[in-house]
């Protein structure tokens, strides 16, 4: 489980007895390295999937996932004890994605000032890499709305949980969800017409 990668079962296997998430987080807070490995084995897939959707499968998905688990290790002592820590990890992911977005925005602003062109808020790569109608449509809405929508509709987080995770008022979450759905539906309709 912890470190004997060569001899341990596949980290993706799901049929081993599980330590409850709160206990696992407690062990992690105590500095037990193995707990991080177990947490990773348990939640890598959903977290990676969330990050891939939120970033439209950006090139740095694995780096982001990596950062999410390290951030989780750092703040494990503050875990609130919910039976499943998936929403908590999703919250961490959302915060890291927001920081990444802000950094990326600043980077684009610097680039645009150097080249005397107007910065665009959206990363152009997702549109190029989109592989399906929904993915393409998702790539066309802003990252903030996209992440909020995914947290609600895919991860099943309540609006209050999303607001807490993102550090925004719940009204902002409702607004983003409404706008995201509207834009997504419009984008899908346009895709159908074209």
């Amino acid at each position: 489980m912890i470190t004997r990668l060569a001899a341990s079962p596949s980290p993706l296997r799901d049929d081993v007895p599980r330590t409850p998430d709160p206990d696992l987080l407690r062990q992690l807070a105590d500095g037990e390295i193995g707990a991080l490995g177990e947490l990773y084995d348990r939640y890598r897939e959903p977290i990676r999937s969330f990050v891939a959707r939120a970033t439209c499968d950006a090139e740095d998905v694995d780096d982001l996932v990596h950062s999410i688990f390290l951030a989780a290790a750092k703040s494990a002592g503050r875990y609130d004890g919910r039976p499943s820590c998936r929403p908590w990890l999703i919250g961490i992911a959302a915060q890291l994605l927001r920081r990444r977005r802000q950094s990326f925005g600043r980077f684009l602003a610097v680039l645009s000032s150097l080249r005397d062109v107007r910065a665009t808020a959206a990363d152009p790569r997702p549109a190029l890499q989109a592989r399906s109608d929904v993915e393409r449509a998702l790539g066309r809405i802003s990252a903030a709305k996209r992440i909020t929508l995914l947290m609600a509709e895919v991860e099943g987080l309540s609006c209050a949980e999303i607001a807490a995770a993102l550090g925004v008022p719940i009204g902002t979450v409702w607004t983003r969800l409404h706008a995201a759905r509207r834009e997504l539906r419009r984008a899908l309709e346009e895709g159908d017409k074209s």
Binding site: I2, G31, E32, E135
Partner: protein, 353 residues
Amino acid sequence: VSATPCHRLFEAEAMRDGRLTGAERARFERHVAGCPACSIEVRALEALAESLRAEFPDHAVADEVRARRERTRLMAAFDRALLAPEQSRNVRHWLLWPAAVSALVVAILLVLPRVRRPAEPPTHPLSAVVHADSTSVWSERRDGDREKVVLERGALWIHVNHSSGEGRLLVVLPDGELEDIGTTFTVSADDGQTTRVAVQEGHVVLRIRGQAAIALGPGDTWIPDPRPVASARASAPAADPAPSARLDALERSTQPTLPPSPRVASPTASDSSVDFRAAMAALDIGDNHQAAAGFATFLAKHPHDPRAEDAAYLRVIALQRSGDSAGMKRAAVEYLRRYPAGFRQAEVESLSR
């Protein structure tokens, strides 16, 4: 499909987002049942969510090699983060070195020509008291910064006062060695082998040739494997035919702590997590000797625990931090012996050289 617009259409989304609760929600649900437009809207919102959930099948799931690689990377990063404070302190120490060396050289150049000091007696960085029984055959010698007590047979009661210096004491046994880590303990040997070790205070690490190192803490008593405990108890007086009065008293005081059978007995509960956390806590506060002993204890008590490899690795790190390079190398070799394909094999291999 077309439907007549409804002024309550927006409530479909409000219900989905949890903005409608209780009676409001119940009323809207009743309305949906009879309103084609709202019914379509509710289904459309659900279909949108379904399409989102159905998209992006995790294409990395099947890529186990990639998952393993990322896992390895994560664990290595966590290790680095775990060790970072110590490393940064070390970096700061390195930055201070040039200034310290320069100041020392200047001081020597200024002071040396003016002062002719009488030769100072050799310092003894370690203060140890050894009580031996009348039949014991033992000697002492100094090897670098390490005091060595060589026990051929008999029983010794040893108290080491580490507050007087930084030196270490090693008890050389007929079949191994016993390393002291700030301690009061008794050790007995007979017929070319160690017959008993009992620790009253502090910690020792016992290394019997051909066996894994064993850390012993306060109250721990070690007797060799082949002898049943009952016979070991019975043979104790034979091994210690005439110990000193103090030795007798200590031996008697440790007798009740002897367990019925385990090789290493501790009065504390053998909860693996407790042991591991205790060692981690020592490592966290910089008590590296204690941490190394704690991890050794953990390994001895819980060799099959999933954290055993971590403990073996962290023991190496604790010894490295404590400045015990010889102990670190031995721990590194022990790690590699136990985990030849271990997660930290490459790093430990470099430390073992």
